[in-house]
């Protein structure tokens, strides 16, 4: 099996946040904690305005910044290559939060530990897709072997955008079919 990761089709995303809420529901996340987070951006000036959304979560990086900084080994690379977190070991030191350039790990105040997207490993092990993938009304999310996803969605998929850190930092297992406007540098993040 090759590297596993998420594919996001930005060209069709309506920004509805079904993925974000499905994730929240499946993981029973408290308010303020998001394992998957949809953000909205605009570029250009009226009336030449363009807009796009980015649905982001853990990129299960090939070179994850969060793993080596964890002093207790709670953040680790699982046998399938995804980055997993052992809640029992976590001491809540926030090292991973500081290290991740994507701001993925989340501090769960009520538990005193960090948690993050585990790519719904238990669901996947039982033959299901991650909750976010099966939630998308636009079918803009997929999870699987990156080589297969790349073959399916074309060579123009990217792993970085102006809104994201350079892919060279952590080698994210992430493929994006991006909107042309998402490649423009002068973006502004906006609430919806």
């Amino acid at each position: 099996m090759g590297t596993l990761g998420f594919y996001f089709d930005q060209t069709i995303c309506t920004g509805c946040r079904a993925c974000q809420v499905a994730c929240k529901d499946k993981n029973n996340l408290e308010i303020g904690v998001l394992f998957r987070n949809v953000r909205t951006f605009e570029v250009g000036v009226f009336p030449q305005t363009k807009a796009y959304h980015y649905s982001g979560t853990c990129n299960h990086c090939a070179n994850p910044a969060c793993v080596p900084v964890c002093p207790v080994g709670a953040m680790f690379v699982a046998e399938d290559g995804t980055v997993q977190h052992d809640d029992e070991l976590c001491i809540g030191c926030l090292s991973c939060i500081q290290a991740c350039p994507y701001s993925v790990p989340q501090y769960i105040e009520s538990l005193g530990i960090v948690q993050k997207c585990d790519s719904c490993k238990q669901l996947r092990d039982n033959g299901w897709n991650p909750a976010c993938v099966d939630a998308c009304p636009m079918r803009a999310l997929e999870f699987g072997d990156l080589d297969e996803l790349r073959a399916k969605h074309g060579d123009d998929v990217v792993s970085e955008l102006p809104i994201l850190p350079s892919a060279g930092m952590t080698e994210p297992s992430l493929l994006i079919s991006c909107k042309a406007c998402a490649e423009l540098p002068d973006f502004r993040e906006k609430q919806v």
């Binding site: 079904a18 904690v33 009520s110 238990q122 009304p137």
Partner: protein, 902 residues
């Protein structure tokens, strides 16, 4: 157990230990206690705790194979119908999911739902659930101090006392003032209807002028009893979206899709948007006409044509001018002259109805032949704000020799003086020939029939209960209902509506707000509404949360959500065209909640109404009847037959009356998923081309919705009907009439362009956080969609406003606060405030801190009585008072009840 719960309530235990030990959350406890020992143990779990409780609990359970996935209702009238399931493990709902009942493909798509449906468990088990009947502390028979409504304290009472109060007040009001003094907002009011009836209401609600206009000027293909059957009109306008647009597979044949005030990405956020995406994938170009570069436009990468609210008529007249003056059948064919000639009435002097001055034809109005005002793109541009060359571009894109869909939402018709706008849209479609053929269509395409026109292929059934008619014939338009209460006068237009109007005296002394009829929140001019509600002698609401109507009531009756009923089909929704979705019971009633029917039955008893005549059989037989009478299209694509196979054994095991029948799916199989979808593929028998028969032979297939049987660009029938009933006179043909509270009204002096006191237009788009006012208390939805006010960036800059600043928006009707989003996606001069946010009046300042749209909307009716939510004017400034927190950090509206913690 009791000590343990107290500990849990006090958050004394580690969360994971608590959950591991309990194996159920607060939610599970809520109903087990209700079912069990009588003392509502869950009550000890504070509201705050209930919310926090749901977090990080049973992830392991949620992904295990334990429990049962139950088809769970999503019952709001958002404009979608999606599959929704709740995983119930040991009596607790641990997770939700949407459709995975079959493989997913564009032709045969799963019916995936949106964040609202996925948040139903937070809604059903919310900290804000009403637990007991309650009354206003200072209520007395006749009202007591009525000004305390909305500010008084709540006292827990027994159901017995609640029914005593309700029945005695009904009897007292009827005896003293008569049944014409009870105003009833929706619901199963069979008890009251059997007890002499009540005043009802109607209005254009979300439909705007699409509610009436297309049914009079011939832009609907079938015959509809709009003006004959009381109540039908409230549903009929949805059929404008069903019947004027081709089916979703044909949408893929379009080369160009022009969307006018259409954002189904917010209002119908389920799978129907996926159908637009298929058209995009097959190469369709999208153009979006809207004041806001909305998220459907964004996702379709549409070419944006920003146009001011309430000015679509001017825009389309400019388009019509371009079509007429630039059409060249040889070198630049824009107009379908053959279609205009055969299928329409009133386009030019040669096609006018008998007995009408031929100079009043549409073409000469556009050219300005007789009024001296050519409706050029330059003329239109000054009004609508779109550059003249972009108006010409839009006209060229609509050209007759391309396959074009001209699809709209109802939003642009929720404006003043928009009576002829649906007629204008039909006229543009007729001029360009985009109707009645594959790849060509014109009309509304949103809500339940988004991107997928045609009669439903599968239909839910009926419970088979008798219809209890309402003996009172008074029906008040929502746009003047508060005024009617305050002034004791209103305009009666016939119970079936739009008959010649008569002014009637009225003395409303009791208001009954049923569940889902939160009209104090959703009707225009809320401040007058609050004043009106504080004037009458008795106000009662039944709901499951403290809706705005409940907040201002004397008596509040806690009802169940649909998850707590025996099962059924969503009553507030239309069926999805290809799918019928049923729900089953998920949990027993929470706390002391009763179903609406249980409340109605008890009220019947108290009022001496024979229950058997109203409810001759119980909920189980009703549900069975609904299932049994579901119908589905047959293979020939024409006939319908029973959907569900029912056997003698089914009837016996249910303990109901009925006869066996043969359908397409067994009862057991259907109830397992609550789901049946007609499988579609290109070229099947289930396609739909709107107006096809009419286009092919208008003489043999005349349109029943106009007197002439044609599409009436000049419609005497439209003008006569509306002018007889109407609040202002309209013309028989599309003309531009500047709307009350429209763009022109933002100026003190139109000629010099000197701005007035309210220099901005405001719109109230349907917002994905809510279905109208539903769901607004759900925190994870507040987190996902924070409900700002959207301001144009240059407008905001002039006022020194930045993202996150608190903004005071005000006009002649009221003041409200919101946090700003400063955006280039909104036209200058426009303010966008999402629809349905719950009002939160500040007792100190009187300012609404909730961002309620209807604090600012005017109850001002014109023409057919359009509720003009999208033509209002305001001013705004950076708020100098205490800044607003984000909604997710603001307290939920939760009833504090005396006696709650006993």
């Amino acid at each position: 157990m009791s000590d343990f719960l107290k500990q849990a309530a006090g958050k004394m235990v580690d969360r994971r230990d608590f959950l591991n030990a309990a194996a159920v959350g607060a939610v599970g406890l809520a109903f087990t206690s209700h079912m069990g020992n009588g003392l509502a143990l869950a009550d000890m779990v504070s509201a705050e705790q209930t919310e926090a409780e749901d977090t990080n609990s049973s992830v392991d359970i949620a992904v295990s194979d334990k429990g049962e996935w139950i088809p769970a209702a999503c019952w709001f009238n958002c404009g979608s119908q999606c599959a929704n399931y709740a995983l119930v493990v040991d009596g607790e709902v641990v997770r939700q999911k949407t459709d995975d009942t079959h493989e997913d493909s564009p032709d045969y798509p799963q019916q995936r739902g949106c964040i609202r449906g996925r948040s139903q468990r937070k809604n059903v088990f919310g900290a804000d659930r009403l637990k007991y009947p309650m009354k206003r502390k200072h209520w007395e028979p006749g009202g007591g101090d009525k000004s305390l409504r909305g500010r008084d304290e709540w006292v827990r009472i027994s159901w017995d006392e609640a029914f005593d109060i309700l029945s005695s007040e009904i009897k007292r009001v009827v005896e003293k003032y008569g049944n014409r003094s009870i105003l009833s907002f929706g619901g199963p009011c069979n008890a009251i209807n059997s007890y002499g009836g009540a005043v009802s209401h109607y209005g254009s609600t979300s439909y705007g002028s699409w509610q009436v206009t297309p049914f009079l000027m011939g832009y609907m293909p079938y015959s509809y009893p709009v003006f004959d059957r009381p109540g039908y009109i409230q549903w009929a306008a949805s059929y404008t979206s069903r019947d004027t647009i081709n089916d979703r597979l044909d949408l893929r044949n379009c080369e160009t899709i022009i969307m006018i005030s259409l954002n189904t990405a917010w209002n119908s956020a389920g799978t129907n948007n996926y159908h637009w995406a298929q058209a995009k994938k097959t190469g369709a170009k999208f153009i979006a006409v809207d004041p806001y570069y909305n998220d459907l436009a964004q996702a379709m990468d549409a070419d944006w044509l920003p146009v001011r609210p309430g000015t679509d008529m001017a825009l389309l007249l400019g388009v019509a001018y371009t079509l007429i003056t630039e059409d060249d059948p040889e070198n630049n064919p824009l107009i379908d002259w053959d279609f205009l000639d055969r299928c329409t009435l009133g386009f030019d002097a040669d096609h006018m109805p008998e007995g009408v001055n031929p100079e009043e034809n549409f073409k000469d109005y556009v050219l300005g032949t007789y009024d001296g005002i050519p409706k050029t793109p330059e003329w239109a541009s000054e009004i609508c704000g779109l550059e003249p060359e972009r108006i010409r571009y839009l006209a060229q894109e609509m050209r007759v020799d391309k396959k074009v869909a001209i699809v709209c939402g109802w939003a642009s018709a929720r404006t003043q003086n928009s009576d002829n706008l649906p007629q204008m849209i039909a006229t543009i479609g007729a001029m360009t020939g985009h109707m009645g053929k594959s790849g060509h269509m014109t009309g509304p395409s949103h809500s339940y029939f988004t991107a997928n026109g045609g009669l439903s292929l599968v239909n839910p059934g009926s419970a088979g209960l008798p219809t209890i008619s309402n003996p009172v014939d008074d029906a008040i338009h929502l746009g003047e209902v508060w005024n009617a209460i305050l002034t004791h006068k209103y305009n009666f237009c016939g119970k079936s509506l739009y008959l010649p109007r008569e002014e009637r005296d009225i003395d409303i002394e009791m208001i009954y707000f049923y569940k889902y009829m939160n009209k104090l929140q959703t009707a225009e001019d809320m401040n007058s509404g609050i004043e009106a509600v504080r004037q009458v002698e008795f106000v009662v609401t039944q709901d499951y949360t403290l809706s705005t109507s409940a907040m201002f009531s004397d008596l509040v009756l806690p009802t169940t959500t649909e998850w707590e009923t025996i099962g059924g089909f969503p009553r507030n929704s239309f069926p999805n065209r290809e799918v019928v979705i049923a729900y089953r019971n998920v949990v027993p009633p929470l706390f002391e909640a009763k179903t609406d029917q249980e409340i109605d039955i008890e009220l019947c008893k108290r009022l001496g109404v024979d229950v058997d005549s109203v409810y001759p059989f119980g909920p189980k037989q009703q549900f069975f009847n609904e299932l049994k009478s579901c119908t589905v299209i047959q293979d020939n694509g024409v006939d319908y037959g029973p959907l569900i196979t029912i056997t003698e054994e089914d009837i016996e095991s249910w303990g109901v009356e009925g006869t066996p029948q043969e359908g397409k799916i067994s009862l057991e199989e259907f109830l397992k998923t609550g789901y049946y979808q007609v499988k579609r593929s290109p070229g099947d028998n289930y396609g739909y081309i709107a107006f096809e028969a009419f286009r092919n032979d208008p003489e043999a297939h005349p349109l029943p919705s106009s007197a002439s049987g044609k599409i009436e660009i000049y419609s005497t029938g439209l003008a006569e009907r509306i002018n007889a009933a109407g609040w202002s006179e309209i013309k028989p043909l599309p003309t531009y009439v500047p709307p009350k509270n429209g763009y022109e009204c933002t100026f003190e002096n139109w000629e010099t362009k000197e701005k007035g006191a309210y220099p901005y237009q405001i719109i109230n788009p349907h917002y994905l956080r809510r279905a109208h006012s539903g769901f607004d208390n759900v925190l994870q939805l507040r987190e996902a969609f924070p409900n700002p006010v959207y301001l144009n960036a240059s407008d905001a800059r002039e006022k020194g406003i930045e993202d996150g600043d608190t903004v005071l928006i005000e006009n002649m009707n009221g003041k409200t606060l919101r946090r700003a989003v400063v955006t280039e996606r909104l036209m200058p001069g426009i303010v966008s405030l999402p629809h349905g946010s719950w009002v939160d009046p500040d007792p100190e300042t009187g300012i609404d801190r909730g961002g309620a749209d209807n604090i600012l909307t005017s109850a001002l009716l014109q023409g057919q009585g359009v509720e003009a939510f999208n033509s209002n004017i305001v001013t705004f400034e950076k708020y100098a008072g205490e800044p607003l927190l984000p909604d997710v950090e603001r307290p939920q509206r939760i009833a504090v009840v005396e006696g709650d913690d006993e």
